[in-house]
Symmetry: none
Subunit: 361 residues, 2 copies
């Protein structure tokens, strides 16, 4: 794999010497001429192999520096950009190119799975990294069938069993988030999830439930909400939660972007975080670190996930025997300033206080 020191590029003459024949003979073999004895041809082919000879055009036009195709849903999330950064970093180390495309920007005529797979082969791609839900399992299979190495990163839904994928430990992350809030003394903890169909959100929800149940706290239905991974979801959910008779003292949001929506709505309603409400996000993007207050968040190793995806492609290319088709990287809770112990029960915050007392100040 090292491109570093080449003693000297093997020439025709060197191959000839290795094979014990003249240069014209090697030339004939390379150019597929028929006037060469089978035995001689075999010796020359062996020598070509040993010396790693490349024809001038092979040397010059390097038709394909290895390239991975990276397909994203969009780049309009800090999440996607972080994964991309990891992909770029590992690709640079492996001296591979990254050909980037974004499904939302696809030109008019979307290619069918078979055509797309064929084009990937024609262009000499080494593989494809998929960070989008735009491919269904039929399409993924079209790539597999043509033996194009493929890796799906953090799929909303699990890919077919034989497709490689990279994800994060969502269940453990959800459990850690809820456990942190429980340890601070919270008992009324809400969960604002991603789309109900998304496996990763379900896993986070079940981690949250596991933590509550371990403390003997039953999960209240009205505390469990769902929606897209967007700030608007956080805004809406926050409004619903504040309107409850018994609003939560803490919220676990299934993504930082949702949490940012919660934060914005909290500020609008003058609910102070963390004094009146604790908030935990998920993803650990730089947005979480830079928000005011900085957000406690379950950090996913997004760059590592991007790096792992590239490594997975490389290992498939090398024909390595890979025992597990799924890699799950650990999440970890990063405690910042959006979580604190709940206020004493007497001063419990309610929606009515927010509406009346604080708004106009």
């Amino acid at each position: 794999m090292t491109i570093g020191t080449k003693p000297s590029k093997p020439t025709l003459a060197a191959v000839a010497q290795e094979a014990g024949v003249s240069t014209p003979t090697v030339s004939k073999v390379i150019n597929g001429r028929e006037d060469v004895a089978d035995e001689t041809r075999a010796r020359v082919l062996a020598a070509l192999e040993r010396t790693g000879y490349k024809t001038p055009s092979q040397r010059r036009s390097v038709p394909s520096r290895r390239a991975v195709e990276a397909v994203f849903d969009s780049l309009n999330s800090a999440y996607a950009v972080e994964v991309l950064n990891g992909v770029l970093e590992q690709a640079a180390i492996a001296d591979m190119e990254v050909v980037l495309s974004v499904t939302s920007r696809q030109s008019g005529s979307p290619l069918g799975p078979e055509e797309r797979a064929q084009r990937l082969i024609d262009e000499g791609r080494s593989g494809m990294i998929v960070v989008t839900s735009a491919f269904n399992s039929g399409q993924l299979n079209a790539f597999q069938r043509r033996r194009i190495p493929i890796v799906v990163v953090d799929p909303l839904n699990p890919p077919p069993g034989d497709v490689f994928s990279v994800g994060a430990s969502n269940w453990a992350g959800g459990k850690a988030a809820a456990a942190h809030l429980l340890a601070l003394g919270h008992r009324r903890i809400a969960y604002i999830g991603g789309p109900e169909s998304a496996e990763c959100s379900q896993a986070r929800l079940h981690g949250y439930m596991a933590a509550l149940m371990a403390e003997g706290i039953s999960v209240q239905e009205e505390y469990v909400l769902a929606g897209p991974f967007r700030p608007s979801n956080g805004v809406q959910a926050m409004k619903s939660l504040l309107a409850l008779d018994d609003p939560p003292t803490a919220i676990f949001a299934a993504s930082d972007s949702i949490a940012l929506g919660v934060l914005a709505e909290a500020r609008r309603q003058n609910v102070r975080i963390p004094e009146e409400l604790s908030l935990v996000g998920f993803d650990g993007t730089h947005q979480a670190a830079e928000s005011v207050p900085p957000l406690t968040s379950v950090s996913q190793p997004l760059q590592d996930m991007g790096r792992s995806a590239v490594n997975f492609i490389l290992r498939q290319m090398n024909g390595e025997d890979i025992d597990s088709r799924r890699v799950e990287l650990a999440t970890h809770l990063v405690v910042r300033e959006s979580t604190a112990a709940p206020r004493p029960a007497a001063h419990r915050f309610t929606a009515k206080e927010a509406g009346a007392g604080n708004r106009g100040t």
Copy 2:
């Protein structure tokens, strides 16, 4: 080879004859060597064009899909991601691939300009879009010399005269920002700039100065600060400005990221925006729209800039005669909620009030 006729494959020698020079000279031009007189180079380039000469590797290579190389400093800014989105969109429309690399992630051995240019040719790239200050003019010239279409997007500093570039009307944007604040009634307006060496920041500063001078207001030295295009710069600058005896009632920040730092520090010191301080950013990234309060900002057409860069490459590829090598797209002020009329003079906000009255609340 028959004498006098022009057979199918034009050779170096044929080109040399056509140009009235020796074969070594043609060889030098093709390989981008510098030891060729400009006038000679022009003659040879013309002869290459007329004869339709192809290098051996060009003759052998299979025509593949057109691809642009896009080189960014990093993707850790909303600015860069927006430009990239524009590049991706226009490239998709033109059915071109985008090969993405990030200079900060370059693998161990950075390529020299000549090698890098050669590799671009070897890989069959159609051109290169540069969104980084990592290339000096010598390097840019190395690409120009080899006839690789190249476009520099919003250069911190202007590229050499013959390099194509895409930018935004920074001076007009700076003027619009200051004029907006003046129209609201502000008279003490500070400017927090980018790096002093950056042309774009200088242009914004001079636009700001022009607006003040048009109102007969002299620019106060202590109100003009500079630093990197990062939130930390905004934080530092905000601290200095608040420490002045006569702090400004409005701040024009040379980028949204700087403004976000100002916003964070303002919140920390309980300076309310816009009630006590008006704030204008620059760039118009989604960060400006999503901050609390949403930021008034001079919007750059970042996606359009990315799109224009791709179009510039396409036009160079098509050999179009391009009259202007610089395209400057219009900026426009987007007024949101971070700007308002200053408080009446009697209640003028001072640093001391912030320190004493509000902090502990």
